[in-house]
Symmetry: C2
C-alpha cells in the first residue's frame, strides 16, 4: 500500500483488524506484532497513526461509543413508552446490541488498564448519566413510573454499578457472581419502581468472562 496515500483507509484497516484480534484473543493477549502481522503494515506505518496499543483501543471505543450514543438518544426521544420502560430498553439495548457486545468482548481487564477505566468512568459521569439516563428518570418521575427525588444521583450510581460492576469488566468474575450482582441490582432498584435486568440480559453478561 502506498504510504500515506490513503491515510484514512490505513487507519480504518488498523482499527478493524485490531478490533477483530482483541475480540478473538483478548486485548491483553494481542501484541503490536500481531497487529503488524495481520495488517501487513510496518511498525512505522502503525506508529505513524497510533502512539500505542491502548491508543488503538481508545479509538475503537470512540467509534463504538459514537454509534452507541446515537442509539441511546433514539431510545431517550422515543414516544409512547413510560420512563421505566425506556430505562429498561436502554439497558437492554446497551448490552444486547452488536457494537456494545463487540466492545465488551474485546475489553481488557480494566484494573490492569487503568487509563481505559478512567475514560469509561468519565464518559459515564460526564455524558451517559446526565444526557441519557437522567432525562429518562425525570420522564419516569413525571409519568409516575419511577419514584425518586434524586434523578441525578440515581443516574450516576446506577450507571457506575451497571457499567463497571455488574458487567464484569474490572476483573474476571465467575458467571454465578455476575448473576448475583445483577439480581442484587434488580433488588436495589425495586424501591424506585423498576426492574433493570431480565433473564436474557443477565445471561448475556454472564457470558463475557467464560474464557
Amino acid at each position: 500500500m502506498a504510504r500515506n496515500k490513503h491515510p484514512e483507509q490505513t487507519v480504518q484497516l488498523i482499527l478493524e483488524t485490531a478490533a477483530r484480534l482483541f475480540a478473538q484473543k483478548g486485548y491483553d493477549e494481542t501484541s503490536m506484532q500481531d497487529i503488524m502481522d495481520a495488517t501487513h503494515l510496518s511498525k512505522g506505518a502503525i506508529y505513524h497513526h497510533f502512539s500505542s496499543k491502548l491508543d488503538i483501543l481508545l479509538r475503537i471505543a470512540d467509534q463504538i461509543l459514537m454509534v452507541n450514543e446515537d442509539m441511546l438518544g433514539k431510545i431517550r426521544d422515543r414516544k409512547g413508552l413510560t420512563g421505566a420502560e425506556k430505562l429498561r430498553e436502554l439497558f437492554r439495548t446497551a448490552v444486547l446490541q452488536d457494537y456494545q457486545q463487540q466492545l465488551l468482548g474485546m475489553m481488557p481487564c480494566l484494573l490492569d488498564n487503568p487509563k481505559f477505566l478512567a475514560l469509561l468512568i468519565r464518559s459515564v459521569l460526564d455524558d451517559a448519566a446526565p444526557h441519557y439516563v437522567q432525562p429518562i428518570l425525570e420522564e419516569g418521575m413525571a409519568d409516575g413510573s419511577i419514584q425518586t427525588d434524586s434523578p441525578r444521583e440515581l443516574a450516576q450510581a446506577l450507571l457506575l454499578l451497571t457499567d463497571l460492576w455488574a458487567a464484569p469488566i474490572l476483573q474476571p468474575v465467575p458467571p454465578e457472581e455476575v448473576r448475583s450482582r445483577c439480581l442484587f441490582l434488580n433488588q436495589l432498584t425495586r424501591p424506585f419502581g423498576f426492574t433493570l435486568m431480565d433473564e436474557e440480559l443477565i445471561r448475556q453478561l454472564e457470558g463475557y468472562w467464560r474464557a
Copy 2:
C-alpha cells in the same frame, strides 16, 4: 547525609515530606523538584528509592492503608455492637480518622491518576469488602439489625459507591452535590435496615474539595 547509610530514614523523610506537600498543595500541583527542595535531597537520591511521584503516593497510601486496616479490624472484632452499629462505626471511623483524612486531603483527582484509581478499586474489591464489610453485614443479618440475602454484593456495591463516588475523589464536585450523594446513599441503604452517614460525616466529606 551519607548516601545509603540510613536508607530507611531517607525513605521515611521522602514519604513524610511528600505527604505534607501533597496535603498542602495537592498531589497534582506538587512536583518532584518541590520534593527535592523540601528534603534537600538530590534527584538521584530520590529516584534511588522511588521510580516516580506516583510511586511515592502509592507508598504513602500503603502506609495509611495498613494503619487503616488495623483500625477496621478492631471495629469488626469489637463486642457489644449490632452489625448495623458496627457498619456505621466503620464508615464514621474510616472518614473521620486522622490518617484517612490525611490521605483524602492529598488525593489527586483520580480520573487524572488512573493507576491510583485502579489500586483503590482493587483494594475495595479484594480486601475491604470481603474482609471487613461483608463479615459485619453477616453479623447484622444474624442479629437482625441488617436485612439482606446478598452480603457479598451489598458489601462491594456499598464500598464502590461510598469510596469512589460519595467521597468526591474521582473528580472535583461542589459541596452541595457531595451532600446530595450522601443523602441518596442513606436512602438507598434504608431498605437494608441501616443509615450510613450522619451529619458530621457528610460535612466532613463536603469539605474535601472546597479548594
